[in-house]
Symmetry: C2
Subunit: 198 residues, 2 copies
Amino acid sequence: MAPILDFWFEFASTYSYPAAMRIAESARARGVTLRWRPFLLGPIFKAQGWDTSPFNLYPAKGRYMWRDLERICAGLGLPFMQPDVFPQNALVAARVALVALERDWGEDFCRAIYRAEFGEGRDIGKPETVAAVLTALGQDAQAVLHEAQSDATKARLRAQTEEAQRLGVFGAPSFTTADGELFWGNDRLEAAIAWAKR
Amino acid sequence: MAPILDFWFEFASTYSYPAAMRIAESARARGVTLRWRPFLLGPIFKAQGWDTSPFNLYPAKGRYMWRDLERICAGLGLPFMQPDVFPQNALVAARVALVALERDWGEDFCRAIYRAEFGEGRDIGKPETVAAVLTALGQDAQAVLHEAQSDATKARLRAQTEEAQRLGVFGAPSFTTADGELFWGNDRLEAAIAWAKR
């Protein structure tokens, strides 16, 4: 059986962008099976006493993060454009991701949302942006959005967020292994994959 | 002329430990000249509204950090022991470092302090620990401590901390290049050295 790594991501999270764009190839190259686990940082940040991103609460850290992300994207050959709105409301996109990841275009959807947000500076908090991404992937946007806004999908996203919190996740991206190790940050991706392979 | 990289470190900072232990060799291998720049995080954290380490303010992040540091040290073959006191009062050690870095045993002193603190779990906030480290290095501990506690050294440490803040430093370890780039974290050491070489 291939080792499994859980990939916890949030569409509002900046460093989740480079992680999401490169994780599939990194995991495949090492023979690790990925589970893509969208969740919401909002409730987790709230539990830490924050009502917005720490990058907004601490401006020096925020300025650094945008420059650092720009350098990282340049190094990976990824498009980068700082969006006007930050953090963005990732609720609808996360619900759609839950639905999409049960289909074979789920990972493509996640990458397309990140590219729209941090590669093109679009606001993925607007349902019309999510719809446009779905349409570009050849999907029936209204049907998918309808399913994404069902009570069942809403409950699944809440449960997944609670599971992340139970596992000790406090930021995104995070990676968890079957034996309970937690890794946080795009820069821990390689270490997480190596640990899953042990 | 060899490219220069400024290495900003704080003796209370956990991730500065692996950075300090490996930076000299990494920089030498790439032909980069290092400037070791001790500073104090206290005034910088205070400006962000914190009266202690964010690893204490946010327990989930703190628990993660200690486990992450343990894994990193294991990977580098560095001894690791979580000290009882965290964060430690790095004031005297930082002043001594300023004095020591003008001698040829300065880097050895910095590494020995980090090893005592995070490799052996000792309290480097106690002047007797700093004195023991100095003695083990073959130095006259009382003479060095006397010089370290002079008004001139105190003023230099304050000035260096203010310089760090002006450069946008908000955490440790940090690295700054001659062309104004800032890199934060042990995991950015390679990127910082590569940038300095550009």
